[in-house]
Amino acid sequence: MISYKIKTIYNKGLLILGILATTFSCSKTLDLNPEANWAAEDFYASESDIEAALAGIYSNIAARGAFGRHLILFDLGTDEAIRNRDFGSDNPVGHNDHNPTDVDIQLLWQTLYKGINNANNFIKYIDASKFEDEADFNKYVGEVKFLRGFMYYHLTVWFNEVPLRLEPVLDQSSNHVAPSPLGDVYTQIIADLTFAAEHLPSAFDSDYKAAHANKGAAHAMLAKTYLKAAGYPLRATEINGKNPYQAVKEHCQAVMDLGHNLNMASYKDVFLNYIQNRYDYSESLLEVAYSNGTALGIPSGGPIGYINGLTWAGNLSKIGLPVEQRFNRPTPLHDFIYEEGDTRKSWNVPNYNVLRNAKYPNGTIKIVPNVLAGPSASGKFRRWDAVYPDDIPLSNEQLQPWITLETPQPVHQSVTGLNFPLIRFSDVLLMYAEAENELNGPTSVAQDAINMVRNRAGLDNLATAKPEAIAGKEAFFNELVDERLRELCFEGLRKTDLIRWGLYEEKLNVLYQSIINYPPYRSGNVTHNRKFSAYTNFDPSKHLSLPYPEQEVDLNNLLNQKPEWQ
C-alpha cells in the first residue's frame, strides 16, 4: 500500500517537476543585456561609435565644470577682472573664499577626469586592425591624446601635482593613485601632445573639420605646457630634455610655420566670429564649440555671453532676449592700462548697458559711469550691442537702440551659441615674445611678435610708441604682462598667468590699490569693499593652487590634502 502511494507521489511529482523545469530552462534566461546602451565590448566597433565617443570626450571641455562655467569664473579675482556678485556663496574661488568642500572645485576636477577616463577607454579599446589606413587610426588616437593632454594641462595649472591616470578604471582598487610629481605630469602632457602634433591634420588641410583639435593647437598647447614648466611652481630649466623657453619658441614657430596668422582686420572681428559662429582657423587655433540648438531641442548650447555678457538691466520679461548674468566685472585698471588709440579697450570694456523697463519698453542705452557702478561688465563676449556703439545718443534716437549680435535669432534667454577661444594666435605670438625675451632679451624677434599684436589693435610698434618698454628684459617682460591683459583679458588666462609668473600676490595688491584710490570708491561702502575680497582673503600659502576636492581626499588612500589646506 505504502509503496503504491510513494510510486504515485513519485510519478506525479516527477511529471510536475518536469513541466516546471522546461518552463525555465535556467541560466540562459538570465542573460540579459542592456536595452538602451552598449555593453563595453560592443562599443568602438564602428566609425559612428568612434565619432560619438569623440564627442563624448570633447563635451567635458564644454561642460559646466570646465569652460562651460567654472574655468571662466575661477579666473576672476585678479587685476584684470573680479567677481561681479558681491553676495551669494557661489564661486567662492573668485573671492579666494573657497575650501576643499566647494562643489565648484569638485566639479572641475571630476569633469576633467571624466574626460580623461573616457579618453583612456578610447585609447585602450580602439582596435588598430579595424583600420585600413594606419594614418586614420593614428589621427583618432592623436585627437584623443590631444584631449587627454589638454585636460591634464588644465588640471595641473589649477591643482599642480595630480594623479596621472592613463588606463581605464577597473575596480575599486582604482581609487588609489598618488599625485605625480610636476615633472612627470608635464612630461606626460608633452608626450600626449607630441603624438597629437605628429598625427593630427593641420587646420589648413582639406579634410580638417572645424572644432576638432589640429596640429597647430597641439603645438600651441605644447608651448603653453613648457611655459608653465618654466614658471611657478616647478621653474624648470630643463624639461623633457629641453630648455623650456627654447621649446616654447620651437613650438610657437611650428604654429607660425603652419600658416596661422592674425587674419582678422580688427580685434572686434575676432570676437564677432565667436559670437556669430564663424570659424577662422588661421587665427583661432581651437575653440570650445557651442551652437544654440534650443529651437530644435538639441542640448548643444552653452553659457558664453550669458555668464560673461554685457549688462542687460531692467525688469521686464527677459524671455527671448540676449540677457546676461555678467559674472565678470572689469577692474579699474582697464581705465588706464590701454594706450591712447588702442581699439581693444572699447571692445573689452564698453561703458554702457541696456535698460529696458516700463518707460523704455524698447530699451535705452545707459552710460556706465565707472567700473564700481552696478551695471559695469566686460563686453568681450557680448550678445547685443548698441546700434551705433560709438555714438550712444544717436543709438538712443532709434526706435530700438540695441541690436542682437548673436546668431541664429531669435535667441534664447540663457542658452547661447557663442564659442569660446581656447587658443588664439595672439597668445602664441605673446608666448613666443615671452620665451625669446627670457632667452635673449627684447630682441627684434620678440618685438616683432608683440608688434603684430599691437598693430592689429591700432597701435604703433613698441619701439616707437613706448621705447622704455624695450629698454631691457625686465621692462619688456612687464610690458608683456600688461599686453597679455589687454589682448587676452576675460579669456580665462589671467590668474594662471600671474601664478606662473609669481605675480599673483603683487597684482592683487595692484587690484586693491586701484580700487581704494579710484575716485568713486567710498570707504564705508560694503559693496565697494567686497570688490577686492580676493585681495582681502588672499593667503599666499594657499591660493596659488586649488585644494584637492574633499571626496578625492576621502577615498583616494594615496592622496593627502595639501598641507596648507588641511
Partner: protein
C-alpha cells in the same frame, strides 16, 4: 479571523470523507454576545467527519454517542463536547485572547500561529479598516513592534516608509518585499489595494520566516491576502462611507509686515556700517526709507500670510461597497471603493478607485480554482512642496514678502519707469507669488494598476498537494506637469508655458509552483514544501517635453502647439529571477518541539557569471515549554513558547544592468563639429561595473518568547534579534579622479540589533464592559561595521539648493548610518573679541589673539564655532589643541537620527454598543535636522522675508542672540559652503502622539429592518503631538527625495531632514458602516 484557505481545506476534507450512518445532531453556535457565528468548524474527533456552521450559526452533523465534537473557529477558543443522547447541541464560544489558533500565512503556505518557529506579526484586518486613512499604510504606524512606519512628509497619497527591524542597506532600498495573494512585488504601491479588501496582513520579520523569499527577503516581507467570499454563506453586502476634514497642525513663524520692514531697516543700517544715516543720499537706510516710507505705517498692517493662503481645511471622502457570498462549490467577492482626498496644501490631492473581483471554485474533491482581479486607478495631483531646486514652494511661501510698500511716493526710487509693486522690484523678480504659482501649475500623476492573481490547487492524494500560483501586476501611468502663463516658469523662465509628460509602464510577472506534503505519524507531524518560482520585471519609461507654447488654454492636452521641443527620451529595462526553494516543518510529540528549515536558491539576471546564484538557508526551532509535564501544575500559564532561529537573506535592489560596463549616448554630452556646427551626440561610459557585483547578504539570529497567562487574559511576545549585513550593495563614493562619483559595489557591513516587546491584555471582561490594552516597544541599534576599501566614512549632501552644497550627513564606521554632521555652534563673536579704532566708524575689526577665525574675516555678529581639537601638541597621538582656524576639519557628528525606542499603546474599550479605541504612538530621543531654519533664518543681503527668528539678528544694540548679524566687519555673514549645518539646527525630535481615536456605536437592529448591522463612528488622527520640535512635525525625512521623487539610495544616508516638507495634517472623520 476567518481564513479562507483553512475553510477550503476543511470543506475539502468534509466532502471527501463526510460519510456516516449515525444520528443527526443540530444546533447553533454563538459568541458571548449571543450573536450567531458563521463558519465554525465542527469535527468529530478522531475521524474526518466535519461540517461548518452557516450564516445563522446553525449546523448539522452526524455523530454517535460518545463521539467528541470539536468546535473551532479562528479568533475563538475551541470547545469540545462529548455527545450524549441529545440531538441538539448549542454552543457558546469564548473569544480567544491570545489567538493561538490563528493561522498565519507564511511564504508558500500557512501554519497555525502556535506552531510558528519564526517571528511573524499579524495585524487585524479590522484595525486597518477602521482607521480612516486614504491608504492602508497610514494605519500601520505604531501598531507592530519592530516595524517603523513613517512618512517622509504629509503629501496626500504618498506611500509611507516601512522599515522592518532597522535598515540593513545603506544606499539600496530598505523597503520590504510585498507578497499580494502570492505575487511578490518589490515595488508595491499601497494605493493599489483597498484597506477593506485586506483579509490578512502579516509581517515576516526574522530570517526563519523570510529566508524562503531568499534574495528579496532581507528587508522583511509583508504578506497580504485579500478577501474572498465564504462558501455556504448568504450574500452579504457591506457599505462603508466616511467623510473627513483635515487641517495642518501648525504653522511656521515668519516675519510679520512690521517685523519685515524693521528687518530691512536693520539690514540697511548694517550695510551702512552700523552708522545711522537716514538722510544721507546714497546710504542704504536712506533708500529703505524712500522706498518704504514711515515704517510705523506697517505696525498694524495685516499683510499677506502666505501660509494661511497656501494651507486650508481639506475634505476627504472614502466609500466602499462589497458584495460577498457563495454556495457549496463557488464563492465570489466583489468590492469597489473610492477615496477622494483634497490636500491641506491647495491644489494638492489624491484620488483612487479600486475594484476587486475574486472567485473561488471547488471543481471536484481535489481541484480548486481561485482567481482575483484587481484594478486600481490613482491620481496624485498638485504641487510638490520640495521640488524645484532652489525654487521650492515652501521657500517661496516663507520668503515672499508679507507686504508691499505702502508709500505712494515710492515711484521716485524706481527711476523714470514708475513703481509697480512686484514688477519693479528686482529682488522680487527672483520670487513669484507662490499662490499664483501653485494655481497655475498642473501636476498629476495618473496610474492604472492591474493585478491578476490566479491559483490552482490540486490534491494529488491525502498527503500531497500541488499548487500553481501565477500572477501579474502592471502599472501604467504618466506624470503630467504643465505650467501656465501665470507661473514663474511660464512667465519668467526661458521655457515659457511648457508641459511635460513622463510615462511609465512597470510590470511584474510571477509564477510559483509548489508541492506540499503533509503527514502525521502518531504524535509527530511532518510538513514539507518544495517549489520553484520565476519572476520577470520589465520597465519602460518615456518623456515628452515641449516648451514655449503660445497659449496655456489647452493645457497638457495640446502640446503640439509648442514652438520649442526637447528631444523625447525613452528607456527600457528588465530583470529576471529564477528560483527554487523548500521548507520542512517537523512537529514532534504533539508539536511540543517544532523544527523548521528552509532553503532557497535565487538566480538573478542582475548579476554575472559566478555571482549570479545566491543560496539562502534558515533553521529555527521552538519549544512549547507549557506543554511539558513539569508545567502541569503551573496553572496560570496557558502557553509558553521559546523560539530560536537563524538564517540568511538577500537584497538585490540594484539597477538592472549595474554589473555590465556600459557606454551610452548621453544627450548632454554631445558636441558640435564643423563650420556649420552640426551636433554630434556623444557617448560616454555611463556605467562602471565592478566585475564581482553580487547579493547583499543579511544573517539574522532571532530569539523569542511567546506566552499567554491568566486564562489567556494576558499574552505577550518578546524578541531579540541580531542582524549582520555584509557585501552591502553600496552606491559607493569613488575617488573623483576615476571619472565616477559613485559606483554600485559590494562593500562594507552593517549590523542591527534590537528588542521588540508586545504585551496584550484583556484588562476588564464583563458582560457590558470590556477593556483591552496592548503596548508594543521596539529598539534598534544600527552600526556600520565597515565601508569601502580604505574608507572610514561616507559624507552625504542633501543638495538643498544651488548655494548650499554641503555634506550635512556622515555615515562613519563604528557609528549608526546617517548621522548629522556639522560645526559646533559657540555663540556669536562680540565687539569685545576684537581690536578696533573706536573713533573711526570704518575701522576694521581685528580678532584678538587666541580666538579662532575662519576663512574670510569675521566681525562682531559673525557666528563663532568651536575650534575642535585637531592638533597634537604633546606628541601623544591624541589631538589636544585647536588649530586656530574654523574649517571643514572642525565639523563633527552633531546629531543622531535614530530613536532610542519607539512604539505604540492601544486601548480598546467596549461598553454595551459603544466602543472606543485610542492609539498613542511615540518615538524617543532622536534628532531632526531643521534645514528650513538653517537656510531661511539667517539674515541675508536681499529683501526676501525670513523666518521670524531673523528679526532677532545681532546688532550692536542686540547682542544677546543666536542669530548672526546682517553684516560683520565688511563681510556678509551668510554661511559659506561647509559652514551651514551647525548645532543650532539640530533639534530633539522626541514626540508622543495621540495618533488615533475612534468612537463607535453599533445600532441595535431588529432583524425586520433588513439590515444586519449599522455602525457609526467618529474618529480623529494625529490629534495631539507633544514635542519640543519647532518645525511642522518631527516625523519627517525628505532626504531621499530632494529634487527628485524616487531616490531611495539616499534614504538611509540622509535621515530626518526637514526641508520644505509637506506638513502633516490632523484629521476628523465621521463614518457609517451598513451591512445587509
Amino acid at each position: 479571523m476567518k481564513n479562507n484557505i483553512y475553510i477550503l481545506i476543511v470543506t475539502f476534507f468534509v466532502s471527501l470523507l463526510g460519510y456516516s450512518q449515525n444520528t443527526m445532531i443540530t444546533g447553533t453556535v454563538t459568541d458571548q454576545d449571543k450573536l450567531p457565528l458563521a463558519g465554525v468548524n465542527i469535527i468529530v474527533k478522531g475521524t474526518s467527519t466535519g461540517t461548518m456552521t452557516d450564516f445563522d450559526g446553525s449546523y448539522s452533523i452526524k455523530a454517535k454517542t460518545g463521539d467528541i465534537l470539536n468546535f473551532s473557529i479562528i479568533g475563538m477558543t475551541s470547545k469540545t463536547i462529548t455527545v450524549a443522547n441529545q440531538t441538539v447541541i448549542n454552543v457558546t464560544l469564548k473569544e480567544d485572547v491570545a489567538q493561538l489558533d490563528e493561522v498565519v500565512v507564511v511564504g508558500y503556505g500557512s501554519v497555525a500561529k502556535k506552531d510558528l518557529t519564526g517571528s511573524v506579526a499579524t495585524l487585524k484586518a479590522e484595525t486597518i479598516e477602521s482607521v480612516i486613512t486614504a491608504n492602508f499604510d497610514e494605519a500601520l504606524t505604531g501598531r507592530i513592534a519592530g516595524v517603523d512606519v513613517s512618512s517622509n512628509e504629509g503629501t496626500p497619497g504618498e506611500p509611507l516608509n516601512i522599515v522592518i527591524r532597522g535598515g540593513n542597506s545603506i544606499t539600496s532600498s530598505n523597503s520590504p518585499l510585498y507578497v499580494i495573494n502570492g505575487l511578490p512585488l518589490e515595488d508595491f504601491d499601497p494605493a493599489t489595494i483597498s484597506a477593506s479588501d485586506i483579509e490578512t496582513f502579516q509581517v515576516l520579520k526574522d530570517a526563519s520566516a523570510t529566508a524562503i523569499y531568499g534574495s528579496r527577503g532581507a528587508n522583511g516581507v509583508i504578506v497580504i491576502t485579500t478577501k474572498s467570499g465564504k462558501t455556504n454563506s448568504k450574500t452579504e453586502v457591506t457599505l462603508d462611507v466616511s467623510t473627513s476634514l483635515q487641517e495642518i497642525t501648525k504653522t511656521i513663524d515668519v516675519l510679520s509686515p512690521y517685523q519685515y520692514v524693521k528687518y530691512l531697516e536693520t539690514q540697511a543700517i548694517a550695510k551702512d556700517g552700523y552708522q545711522f544715516l537716514p538722510d544721507e543720499d546714497g546710504s542704504f537706510l536712506n533708500f529703505i526709507y524712500k522706498k518704504w516710507g514711515d515704517l510705523e505705517l506697517y505696525r498694524n498692517v495685516k499683510g499677506v500670510d502666505y501660509q494661511d493662503e497656501a494651507f486650508n481645511v481639506a475634505h476627504m471622502t472614502r466609500a466602499n461597497l462589497s458584495v460577498r457570498g457563495g454556495n457549496d462549490k463557488t464563492s465570489v467577492s466583489f468590492s469597489s471603493g473610492i477615496v477622494n482626498q483634497d490636500g491641506v496644501l491647495i491644489t494638492t490631492g489624491f484620488k483612487r478607485w479600486n475594484n476587486n473581483f475574486t472567485i473561488s471554485h471547488q471543481a471536484n474533491d481535489r481541484l480548486n480554482f481561485w482567481g482575483s482581479i484587481n484594478y486600481a486607478n490613482s491620481n496624485r495631483r498638485g504641487a510638490r512642496l520640495r521640488i524645484g531646486g532652489s525654487n521650492q514652494l515652501l521657500k517661496k511661501i516663507i520668503l515672499f514678502r508679507p507686504v508691499d510698500p505702502l508709500n505712494p511716493d515710492a515711484g521716485e526710487l524706481e527711476g523714470e519707469g514708475g513703481y509697480i509693486p512686484g514688477v519693479n522690484d528686482n529682488d522680487f523678480f527672483d520670487l513669484f507669488d507662490p499662490i499664483r504659482d501653485m494655481k497655475g501649475t498642473t501636476r498629476e500623476d495618473k496610474a492604472h494598476n492591474i493585478r491578476v492573481n490566479t491559483s490552482i490547487t490540486y490534491n494529488i492524494n491525502k498527503d500531497l498537494t500541488f499548487k500553481t500560483t501565477n500572477g501579474f501586476n502592471t502599472t501604467i501611468g504618466r506624470e503630467e506637469l504643465f505650467y501656465s502663463l501665470d507661473t514663474q516658469q511660464g512667465s519668467r523662465s526661458p521655457n515659457g508655458i511648457n508641459g511635460r509628460i513622463d510615462g511609465y509602464e512597470r510590470s511584474t510577472f510571477s509564477s510559483s509552483n509548489t508541492l506540499t506534503f503533509n503527514r502525521k505519524v502518531r504524535r509527530n507531524a511532518f510538513n514539507a514544501v518544495f517549489g520553484t518560482e520565476y519572476v520577470h520585471n520589465t520597465l519602460f519609461e518615456s518623456r515628452l517635453w515641449n516648451k514655449n507654447l503660445p497659449t496655456d488654454e489647452f493645457g497638457i492636452n495640446n502640446l503640439n502647439i509648442a514652438t520649442q521641443p526637447t528631444i523625447a527620451t525613452t528607456n527600457a529595462a528588465q530583470n529576471k529571477l529564477v528560483s527554487f526553494f523548500g521548507r520542512a516543518n517537523i512537529g514532534l510529540n504533539k508539536n511540543k518541539y517544532l523544527l523548521t528549515a528552509t532553503f532557497r536558491g535565487d538566480g538573478s539576471s542582475k548579476f554575472q557569471g559566478d555571482y549570479r546564484w545566491g543560496y539562502f538557508p534558515s533553521f529555527s526551532g521552538a519549544w512549547q515549554v507549557a506543554k511539558e509535564g513539569f508545567m502541569d501544575n503551573v496553572n496560570f500559564i496557558n502557553s509558553f513558547k521559546i523560539r530560536v532561529g537563524w538564517g540568511l537573506t538577500g537584497n538585490n535592489r540594484v539597477p538592472n544592468y549595474a554589473s555590465i560596463n556600459q557606454f551610452g549616448i548621453v544627450p548632454s554630452q554631445g558636441y558640435v563639429f564643423g563650420n556649420d556646427e552640426v551636433f554630434q551626440p556623444g557617448a560616454i561610459q555611463t556605467t562602471f561595473a565592478v566585475p564581482d557585483l553580487r547579493w547583499e547578504t543579511t544573517a539574522q539570529t532571532n530569539i523569542g518568547v511567546d506566552f499567554s497567562i491568566f486564562d489567556s487574559r494576558l499574552s505577550g511576545t518578546v524578541d531579540y534579534y541580531e542582524k549582520k549585513t555584509e557585501d552591502l550593495l553600496l552606491n559607493a563614493n569613488m575617488a573623483l579622479s576615476t571619472g565616477f562619483v559613485t559606483v554600485q559595489q559590494n562593500v562594507g557591513a552593517v549590523s542591527n540589533k534590537g528588542f521588540e516587546v508586545t504585551l496584550s491584555g484583556l484588562v476588564v471582561d464583563s458582560k457590558d464592559f470590556k477593556w483591552r490594552s496592548s503596548i508594543n516597544v521596539s529598539t534598534n541599534k544600527n552600526k556600520i561595521l565597515s565601508l569601502n576599501d580604505g574608507q572610514e566614512f561616507i559624507k552625504s549632501n542633501p543638495q538643498l539648493g544651488f548655494t548650499s552644497n554641503e555634506t550635512y550627513y556622515i555615515s562613519e564606521v563604528g557609528q549608526p548610518v546617517g548621522m548629522m554632521y556639522g560645526l559646533e555652534y559657540d555663540g556669536l563673536y562680540q565687539v569685545d573679541d576684537f581690536i578696533y579704532d573706536d573713533s573711526n566708524p570704518a575701522s576694521p575689526y581685528t580678532l584678538k589673539d587666541g580666538l579662532p577665525s575662519y576663512g574670510v574675516g569675521v566681525g562682531p555678529g559673525s557666528v563663532k564655532y568651536v575650534d575642535q581639537l585637531t592638533v597634537d601638541t604633546n606628541g601623544d597621538g591624541i589631538p589636544d589643541a585647536g588649530d586656530g582656524v574654523i574649517n571643514q576639519n572642525d565639523r563633527k557628528t552633531i546629531g543622531n537620527p535614530h530613536p532610542k525606542h519607539f512604539g505604540g499603546f492601544v486601548n480598546d474599550f467596549k461598553y454595551k454598543n459603544f466602543d472606543l479605541s485610542v492609539l498613542m504612538q511615540w518615538s524617543y530621543d532622536f534628532d531632526v535636522f531643521n534645514a528650513n531654519k538653517a537656510l531661511w533664518e539667517y539674515p541675508i543681503n536681499n529683501s526676501f522675508s525670513r523666518l521670524a527668528g531673523a528679526a532677532d539678528a545681532w546688532t550692536p544694540w542686540n547682542t544677546d542672540t543666536d542669530v548672526a548679524a546682517h553684516w560683520a566687519n565688511g563681510n556678509p555673514t551668510y554661511p559659506r559652503a561647509g559652514f551651514k549645518g551647525d548645532t543650532r539646527f539640530i533639534e530633539d525630535g522626541s514626540y508622543l502622539r495621540l495618533k488615533t481615536i475612534t468612537l463607535g456605536y453599533n445600532l441595535p437592529l431588529d432583524a425586520k429592518t433588513g439590515f444586519t448591522s449599522l455602525r457609526l463612528a467618529l474618529s480623529g488622527q494625529n490629534l495631539v503631538t507633544w514635542t519640543n520640535y519647532s518645525g511642522f512635525d518631527p516625523e519627517v525625512g525628505v532626504g531621499s527625495s530632494i529634487n527628485q521623487l524616487d531616490n531611495p539610495s539616499n534614504g538611509s544616508l540622509i535621515r530626518n531632514l526637514d526641508f520644505s516638507a509637506y506638513p502633516k495634517n490632523r484629521t476628523y472623520s465621521l463614518s457609517v458602516q451598513l451591512k445587509f
